[in-house]
Symmetry: C2
Subunit: 413 residues, 2 copies
């Protein structure tokens, strides 16, 4: 089989995957091999010593949330002393935005790929403001996590049990016709999510105040659906992974220190380089000097052909990430240069319903020196602060060069 | 004051109007001068003898719904015999899509223009399929009307009473950034409507089954918000009406037989001509031969600077009304030629956030021979059938010529 054929096969697996949100459950129960004192995190593997501020903050917050330590100092000491194990979400069929920390008692969305049978998981989205995923861990942050996991999660679990599952690929296809790109702009998708959930929640909720708060929270958070969308993209990307001879990129992820990729035909090896810092727009009172290097598993969206790759569908996003509507079109057009084909389900109205550029081909990235574009949030570099802006970033080209060399060695080219 | 100054004044009144959805109430209680055996209808004044099939069907349905007659034959005889009075919605601060029939016991949305104090009303949207507004009046149609008016309306009334009112102008501004044009495409707006209503409904609903059905119905109907949007546009247009010397068009409406307009500086006179038949896409099993001439008050949206005027914001609509995404941009660009200025609140991302073309200037329409563009649904020509498609239409140029002659006479030019 030629490389092109292998890539076509991987592309077809990625785009024929049909991830359905079937359940909400507890991470420790459903995520494979999630140990008792283990925390999952975004990006490639990393130890406490090399973690950036926001990831350290989220780790401290998760330790406090789990009750493994009573205060910040003890939590940090546990992390430093090896009493907690750290593994990437990506090693456990999971993804998490920004710090991406998933601890055993957190609720997770369970996605099932109807076409190929694999599953994927993501945690709940906390909304804007001071949140764990940006490295904040104040009482307010932990209280909201408790409400989400202890009050909202059981209701959503019961609601989903009443449904036949929510088709997240169909939801995304519709959201791309409503000005979303599926990564930094999930306004329409989150409302479609609310539309699907609301009658189910009304049916199963026992307590009116909780029900009201859930409907308010899911509706007001324009990123409500980001986490199920990321898990859906993970299910698609995992379906494309492991195709012998394929140069398709199946993972792009950052832990706040390193940017890493994995490739369909290169097994589970990561190719990493220092994570760059995004260019973007900063919230009032913050500037580029406050920005942490790029962080999060949310680049799984670009890996699956949406996010910055579908930016032409989302011209209004430029008010959030910088640039002009024309730049948004240019971003998508450029990504056709480095991808395998056009997505059969995700289409862009303003480009005459052309499919989104999907399936990053390692060879094209290196040959054309065009790295993938990524839309992203920007975290403060220090633990405990939170989000400071949003913008655009590209992976370091070195990771693709390393991967291509590894490919040449592995396949004796 | 020059004509330009008068138009600028009317434009500023139209675009500074801020319509808030404050209540749901019973038409007979809140709509001014709505008589006991009176039916309001879309478009300019018309008697039973000249009514088209879908309007006759809706009249029969409303008489049956009110219980004024027990069967179709008796209802038609009442209408024919003058036992029911017909007046335009527009004469009662109201608007209704398609047949636009509002009867005294129907529930209506109440919009209040915070800026100028005027109010506007619209009935509830019934969704797709067999519905009164397209002239269907089977038991199924009347049962749904009863559920909406007797079960849903009291809950929405209580929900709105718990709120500070819903800002429909703000909702529209957001929906235009989410692929809506506010007339034929209200997908995003209806979901924003659901988002605002859902927590309120959860708070006030007493019966879980009703609550679940309301949330399902509002969420599934991509036109849920059309009627409040139309009333909001009516409140804006009415605010711009009555400016001495202004050539701004403040009403465009069709009753299925005639197309009529009214002009800010020309009092309450209608200028009418036979309504044309839309060009469009037909549902399976129907063709242009089934189409009724243009019908409905929903052109109030184009009158207020959205709908076909904002079509560049809604490229995905072409799958519903025909054409290409480029045509959608062209439609908006052309409307800048015949309007007074750009809307300060309604902007179009793909046109670099340019304001929508707003305030149709009678003089420009006649001088350039460019009539306004309208997106519309298409009704079957016979009573009792329903919607057969959706498409594009323009008013007859004669109505603008008549109005300009009347203007010249009135102002002795």
């Amino acid at each position: 089989m030629s490389i092109d054929q292998a890539n076509q096969s991987a592309f077809e697996r990625m785009t024929s995957a049909r991830p359905i949100l079937t359940a909400v459950d507890v991470a420790g129960k459903v995520i494979p091999d999630l140990g008792e004192r283990m925390l999952l995190h975004a990006g490639p593997p990393i130890g406490w010593d090399r973690m950036s501020g926001p990831l350290k903050g989220a780790v401290i917050g998760a330790i406090l949330y789990e009750g493994w330590a009573e205060d910040e100092a003890r939590a940090a000491a546990m992390a430093e002393g090896g009493e907690v194990t750290f593994e990437p979400c990506h090693h456990h069929q999971a993804v998490g935005p920004m710090a991406g920390v998933i601890s055993p008692s957190m609720a997770v969305y369970v996605l099932e790929n109807l076409t190929h049978g694999n599953r994927a998981f993501s945690n709940f989205n906390e909304g804007y403001g001071k949140v764990l995923r940006y490295g904040a861990y104040s009482t307010e942050v932990l209280d909201k996590l408790r409400w989400m996991n202890e009050q909202m999660a059981p209701v959503l679990a019961a609601a989903l049990a009443e449904s036949e599952g929510l088709d997240i690929r169909a939801l995304l296809a519709e959201a791309l016709h409503m000005g979303d790109e599926g990564h930094n702009r999930n306004k329409a998708g989150s409302l479609l999510f609310l539309k699907l959930l609301a009658p189910l929640v009304a049916k199963v909720a026992q307590d009116k105040a909780t029900e009201e708060r859930i409907l308010q929270f899911v509706g007001d958070n324009a990123l409500s659906v980001l986490n199920p969308v990321m898990a859906a993209c993970k299910a698609m990307a995992d379906a494309a992974h492991g195709v012998e001879g394929s140069t398709l990129v199946t993972t792009m992820a950052r832990n706040g220190t390193d940017f890493g990729i994995r490739v369909s035909g290169l097994g589970d090896d990561w190719f990493t380089a220092p994570a760059p810092t995004p260019d973007g727009l900063y919230f009032s009172g913050f500037s580029a000097a406050d920005a942490n290097p790029d962080i999060g598993d949310s680049t799984i969206t670009e890996t699956a052909g949406i996010g910055a790759f579908a930016m032409a569908a989302a011209p209004a996003i430029v008010t959030f990430v910088s640039g002009t509507p024309r730049d948004a079109v240019t971003a998508t057009l450029e990504m056709y240069e480095i991808t395998t084909a056009e997505h059969p389900h995700f289409t862009i109205p303003t480009l005459d319903f052309r499919g989104t550029p999907t399936g990053i081909d390692l060879r094209k990235v290196v040959e054309l020196t065009i790295t993938p574009r990524i839309n992203t949030g920007i975290a403060h570099r220090e633990a405990g602060v939170g989000q400071v802006g949003a913008g655009l970033v590209r992976p370091p080209k070195e990771v693709f060069e390393q991967a291509l060399i590894a490919y040449a060695e592995r396949y004796e080219l």
